[in-house]
């Protein structure tokens, strides 16, 4: 199990489009992926769009990403990359 801290940097936060990309990406990995808000400990399954949307993570929200499973390194790198890239709102989409 590995974990990493990430910050929501894109302007609109984890809204429908960003959430859809995140869920697609997370679902392409075998590892279980959890996101937890550092401020209020709300948590979400990164493979469930309804759960991710309910995190209500706006710009600047700090999160902990926790991956657990065979490809946990690949999974967490991919997800952190997506957050760092501002969810492709600037371009470059990862294949889901």
């Amino acid at each position: 199990m590995i974990e990493r801290r990430i910050v929501v940097t894109n302007r609109l936060g984890l809204h429908a489009r960003a959430a859809a990309r995140l869920v697609r990406l997370a679902s392409s990995h075998e590892a279980a992926l959890r996101l937890e808000r550092l401020d209020n400990h709300a948590a979400a399954d990164a493979k469930s769009i309804l759960s991710v949307l309910m995190l209500a993570a706006s710009r600047g929200t700090e999160l902990r990403a926790i991956a657990h499973g065979a490809d946990e390194h690949a999974a967490i790198n991919a997800v952190c990359g997506l957050f760092a890239a501002g969810f492709g709102e600037v371009e470059s989409e990862q294949a889901g």
């Binding site: 809204h15 429908a16 489009r17 697609r24 469930s48 769009i49 949307l53 709102e89």
Partner: protein, 606 residues
Amino acid sequence: MNKQVRKHVTEERWHGLGVSDGRVVGRVLRIHNGARQVYRATLDDADVERECRRFRAAVRAARGELLAIKTRAEKELGADHAYIFDAHILMLEDRKLIDEIESFIRLENANAEWAVKVAVDRLLAVYAEIKDDYLRARGSDIEDVSQRIMAALSGDSASYRKLTRDAVIVATDLPPSRVAELDIAHARAFATDAGGWTSHTAIIARGLGIPAVVALRDLHDQARTGDVIIVDARTGDVILHPTEETIASYRALQTTDRPPVSTRLAQAENDAAEPPPTFRTLDGTEIVLRANVELPAEFGNVRKFRARGIGLYRSEFLLTGGGRVPSEEAQCQAYIDVAQSAGDGGATVRLFDLGGDKVGTGTAASERNPALGLRAIRFGLTHGEILRTQVRAILRAAAQVSGLSIVLPMIADAHDVRSARAIINQEMANLEGEGIEARAVPVGAMIEVPSAVWMAGQLAHEVDFFSLGTNDLVQYLLAVDRGNEAVSHWFRSLHPAVLHSIRSALRAAQSAGIPAMVCGEMAATPAYAVMLIGLGATELSMNATAIPRVSRVISGINIDDARTIAGKCLGCPTADDVEEIVRVEYSARWPHLFSPESLPPPKTEE
């Protein structure tokens, strides 16, 4: 679900608001988008597994539909709007939702419909607690998805993607997500219970050049798929189960109308290779005709109908994808596309003309009076980052394509213009400082608020051109809400106050030596277009599909006649008097151009 065969049918009539042009005899295609009544049933234990399978099959069917819709939406509305369907697809794939529904079916021996309703209601209750406005609004996406499952469960899934050739779409309302799944290119007409002149249904219908009548109250309840229906957008009449005589009389009217859209499109396509023609009145005065454009699906019409570029690009369409403001890069590309489809005639981009309710800023406190509220340029100046992103995108696009200009919506006076220009200049300087290629563009003002008409003389020295938005001008000048049927009798485009306002704005532009263009819906109606020309307009912008009929009339009139008639109308005390002059003078001078029904009807009452 339970479709009763109705043996005796009598002709039923509705009167609504016609929001486009033309009339059609066709067959109803009824589209569900309201909430359905859901009942609880208790299943025998033996039936539970079968119910789960039925539910899973419905989810698969719904998902298949959404995948097809998404592909179509990407093509017709642009990728930026299709992403919302991706979110819907993921909701259908979401184990959290699917498992909860299945376990409810098992635990409660419930029917699938009831299980879906309970699970979705629970989710919606959680969403309702979310503080962020935009995210809370995602509840409507969940509802949309649940209704799609319900439709699949009841078996009447969205087979309406393959429209028959005579399909008249009947719905309570047509939000963009519903429109996106329709084979809209084949729809013959729209008839909706809700909506107004500026609703999406109306805009799309005008873009497609098909009849649409809105504000029909309960038509959707009464109509059944397959019923014969007449939709007359010219009068706002809708007739269900018309008698043979009624149909015959409408068919007779249709033959005197312009040819149907398909023929016109084919004809226009043949001509598309030629450059846009110059339209002139009989005496040789040139009248420039441009296109109003919103949907990417309409871009092709600019060339098809031989418009001199795009006089009005309603950029709000870029925001209809669920409240997300597209990135600077995405917008820049969109404006390049707009300019390229406009060709040499250029394209005028109207900055976002809407209020906080349409943009996911989280500031959408409901306003008591949105038409007079924080919208258009006021919204842009208040939410500087949205305005700046748009301006930067336009300036960057202008470095790559020629002919772009900006028009500022809802300008009340020179102060609005100066504030907006200051931001445009700052962003131009910023881009230069950042080493990003950009080019300054002409900046114009929409003249649509009465104060701007009064101040037009001064305003004309602060901008590069005027653009007269007649829809809003009429609404603000006469204090009449265009979408409110109760006051529709007071909405008079030919009111003398409107004519005076248009003339004085055009004169102000002329004496300051700047171009002025009239770009409201008035320009698309031949009788009104002639009036505008008589008032001094030489540039009109309209839905491209209206160009053939307007240009035909222009080439048959003398400008002096148009001026004489307009002059008489300016002296009238009421709209009725103006309409009477128009009716009498037009039919006397140009009987070959104006059939009696293309003119204001004679006043029989009041």
